[in-house]
């Protein structure tokens, strides 16, 4: 394996940089996409997610940095084995669905016979088997999106790079798409997908990469990101909670009558708060407040 990354990531992005004129759209972006994990790629419009993904796929040239596959610069042959769903969807509007899926699979080195069998199997699974001979333009947008994902999945990819795979899907389709992605991660494939839907990313992803203005602002597992955020406790007492203001080792974020939100500055201080509170009377609630991803995101990108 040579100088591969430590987390067991076949696919690693290292220092990717791309400029458009004077503007640096992607500025030394580095992160691994671990095998068998879903990595969520989050950031506002123009943060540089799509540009990064296009460089990973070799559609756009990088001005600096590299994409590593198994510790070495990725080759075109290896790229062909990555399933890709571009941000801007598109298929031949006037060709039969099955025919163009087979065509795209053969371009990626698959034998035509095997490609047709795999395409039919996927169409079957998405309930599109009877529409195999229909033209793409006759399908609903949701079904077009399904055909698009089949195009990425057909030659049993070694990795998946999906730009906004959930956009435009209804809740049922979101669930089946999520199930499909997990199916691929469970066979050990690294999956990178971008999304605007933070709740969805929070629920699905093993890892997160947050980008803002062309740079990675924070990355890691959801737990790591939360751990990096402030440690907060909420205390609800029977009487007024104003007394917490005087305690050392904590920062009081908010007090509202019987409820106080505390930020721990010195570890262990929260235990002393609880002792004090019990001494003063009944404690109705004392719990660790886990920051939501949107809060982490707000904080990271602000």
């Amino acid at each position: 394996m040579g100088n591969g990354p430590s987390v067991g990531a076949m696919l690693e992005i290292k220092g990717l940089t791309r400029r458009f004129g004077d503007k640096t759209a992607v500025d030394h972006v580095s992160f691994p996409v671990p095998d068998g994990g879903l990595t969520g790629f989050v950031g506002g419009n123009g943060a540089g997610k799509t540009t990064t993904m296009r460089m990973v796929m070799g559609v756009l040239q990088a001005h600096d940095g590299e994409v590593l596959w198994d510790g070495r610069p990725i080759t075109a042959a290896q790229r062909r084995r990555i399933g890709y769903m571009p941000e801007e969807r598109g298929l031949y509007p006037k060709q039969a669905i099955a025919d163009q899926l087979v065509y795209l699979a053969t371009l990626r080195g698959m034998d035509p016979g095997a490609a047709r069998a795999a395409v039919m199997e996927h169409l079957e699974r998405f309930g599109l088997a009877e529409r195999a001979k229909d033209r793409v333009e006759k399908l609903s947008l949701g079904n077009q999106q399904r055909v698009q994902i089949i195009a990425a999945l057909v030659p049993q990819p070694d990795a998946l790079i999906l730009d906004e795979p959930f956009s435009g899907l209804d809740p049922t389709a979101v669930e089946s798409m999520a199930g499909l992605l997990r199916e691929h991660t469970s066979r050990g494939v690294p999956v990178l997908f971008s999304s605007h839907q933070l709740d969805l990313v929070d629920r699905l992803c093993d890892r997160l990469v947050i980008m803002a203005q062309g740079k990675v602002v924070t990355q890691g597992t959801a737990e790591e990101l939360r751990a990096g955020g402030p440690v907060r406790y909420e205390l609800v007492t029977a009487g007024d909670a104003g007394w917490v203001r005087d305690l050392p080792g904590i920062h009081v974020a908010d007090v509202d009558g019987r409820t106080a939100l505390l930020e721990v500055v010195e570890s262990g201080a929260e235990q002393r708060v609880l002792e004090q509170a019990l001494r003063r009377g009944p404690v109705e609630e004392f719990r660790r407040v886990v920051p939501r991803l949107s809060e982490i995101y707000q904080e990271a990108t602000s």
Binding site: M1, R54, M57, G58, V59, L60, Q61, W69, D70, P73, T75, A76, A77, Q78, R79, R80, R81, I82, Y84, P86, E88, R89, G90, L91, Y92, P93, Q95, Y103, L104, T106, L107, R108, G109, M110, A114, A151, P155, Q156, D158
Partner: protein
Amino acid sequence: MSTHTNETTGAEATTRHTADPGHGTEAQQSRAATRGAWLQVARREVLVKLTDKGFLISTVVTVLLIGAVLAIQGFMQNRTSTFDVVTTDSTAAAMVDRIADRAPDIDDKVAVKAGTEADAAAARVAVQDEKADAWLQRTDSGWTLVTKDTADSDLSTVVSTVVRETALADNASKAGTTMAALQAGTTVTAQQLDGNAERSGLVTALGFIFAILFYLASIMFGMTLASSVVEEKQSRIVEMIAAAIPLRQLLAGKIIGNTVLAFGQMALYVGVGLVGMSFTDYGKYVAGLSGSIGWFLAFFLVGFVALACLWAVAGALASRTEDIQSTSMPITMLMMLMYFGALFLDGTARAIGSFIPPVSSILMPMRVLAGEVSWWEPALALLLLVAFAVGLILVSERIYRRALLQTGGKLSVKDAWRTQE
């Protein structure tokens, strides 16, 4: 472990972990993996077109048209027209009988049938009512052929020839001499050093047909190529293709696919034309034309490929189908120039033009057909055209590659050349 990069789905997954450093450079590997991709692209281009009803119908209609034109030509050449000529007196009747006898010798497509009418009025009515084609009448100064409207030129020729012969013979015997003596030394025989008049006419006609075929095929398949390029760009499927294969392979496949289609269609038309022609009076020239037609097809092939690159660029510069009209303007201008150059250039200009690509792809085959050149001239012109095509392919490939992934509106050639990949 230095040669193969076979892509079998299962095996790849296991071998990729053990890829050794002696596996060849990245570039070698990529080239090996995608070497045959153009074939897939070309195959799709051909299949899509061959299953397109519009294309099939227009091809069949054209073949039928060629057949029909040649059949009509053959029919017209062999048809004999019979004319009813009426008279009102015995002198005229005798003349018409003589005309009827002599007609096949003068023009084998004219037959004359004699008829009589009671008087001038009846004869006039017969012609007016189209019961008779003409009324031949003796007048003081000679003869009059009365017809409803313009007399058929073949009939007039036959009638006037026989009348003149008869009158001359009469006048000769009155003067105490003979027709032969009077006519001695008056004949002019036309002699053409190269071929004959009929062949010259055929060659000129075929030259124009070559020019038109090249022009039409280039425009038609060029437009098809440009719109299929922009279809890929507009529908954004090109990004998925670009992730799978080098764009150079995509361009090669599209050009090869369309060239195969255009060349196949052209060969079909030329073949049907030649077979059809062999059934007409021109049949005897078919064998002699095969060399010229071979050159025509060779120039067509190279010229078409060169222009196809330009069409692909026109497609890549556009960002919507509607833009093709304006991005392809320079090519349509060039094609018009080539076409009219072929029709109107003459003498030295024609000789020079037949070596200058891409005009040479039309002009040189026309000159070969006309028998104006020695063997090395088309060979040299073809070589120059090939060199031109290669240069054009290299330039076009760069512009195509750079323009194809730029989706923000119509591009200029300069912008596309300078833009970064």
